[in-house]
């Protein structure tokens, strides 16, 4: 839970409002093309799949390559979310490591 910082804010009410979800993940996003101080290639290590869910229902499915910046940042927007609804994020990287986070929708 500590590898994703998230917040979700609803402007207006659940019927007409929009929820803005912002998140930042802790991840090196190594391309596999960079060399370390000793001239050795740093192996590729990057998030490949990310799923965002609202109350357990998928709203955004993402595939990422090495072109997403280190410590990935994302904002996305939802219709139909209400206060205290749960937004969750799951990711898996090329080494099979996983991460997840969740947050409740608050008023903007």
């Amino acid at each position: 839970m500590d590898n994703i910082k998230m917040r979700a804010k609803l402007s207006g009410d659940a019927n007409s409002g929009t929820t803005e979800v912002k998140l930042i993940m802790n991840h090196p996003m190594e391309t596999g093309r960079k060399k370390d101080d000793f001239g050795q290639l740093i192996p590729a290590h990057f998030i490949q799949l990310v799923t965002a869910k609202l109350n357990g229902k998928t709203v955004l499915e993402m595939q990422w390559g090495t072109g997403i910046s280190k410590n990935p940042y994302l904002t996305f927007y939802l219709k139909g979310a209400a206060l205290n609804d749960k937004i969750s994020i799951d990711w898996v990287d090329n080494l099979g490591k996983t991460g997840n986070g969740e947050i409740l929708v608050v008023a903007a």
Partner: protein, 147 residues
């Protein structure tokens, strides 16, 4: 009793084995698309058809980026029934940056930060039903961010 337990466990394992590949398939990472150097090859591997330029896709990105390691982009599609947004950078070592699929009330709009190796267009392709639309924004990159 033992036999019954064995059957229970065996059927549970069989079910788990059946379920596992389905979950994996549903979430498969498109390796050939992400390893493609050229946009045309990434597009083909993503299954994207011939796209038309559209004024209903907004791309907000800096005109000049000092450091190509972090270039913030904001993409908004006003095309009805937008299903997915793909982000591509022609002059990167591999052109496909990310592929975003929207459902269940997610708006076709996002902000993220990408790496750029060199001055290039940031190209966005939107899928809406059987139609494909695109827009591009040029970003001048002063320092290679793809290391």
């Amino acid at each position: 009793m033992q036999r019954r337990n064995f059957l229970k466990i065996a059927s549970g394992v069989a079910l788990a084995l059946l379920m596992h590949p389905m979950r994996v398939l549903a979430n498969l990472w498109n390796k050939p698309a992400f390893e493609a150097v050229k946009i045309i090859d990434a597009k083909t591997n993503l299954g994207l058809g011939q796209e038309m330029p559209s004024k209903d896709i907004d791309i907000v990105a800096p005109d000049r980026a000092e450091n190509g390691a972090i270039v913030q982009i904001e993409i908004t599609s006003r095309i009805p029934n937008t299903e997915s947004i793909s982000v591509l950078v022609e002059n990167n070592p591999t052109s496909l940056i990310g592929h975003f699929v929207f459902s269940n009330g997610a708006l076709p709009q996002l902000v993220t930060r990408i790496k750029m190796a060199d001055t290039s267009d940031v190209k966005v392709i939107v899928k809406a039903g059987d139609a494909y639309f695109s827009a591009a924004k040029n970003v001048v990159v002063l320092e290679n961010g793809c290391g």
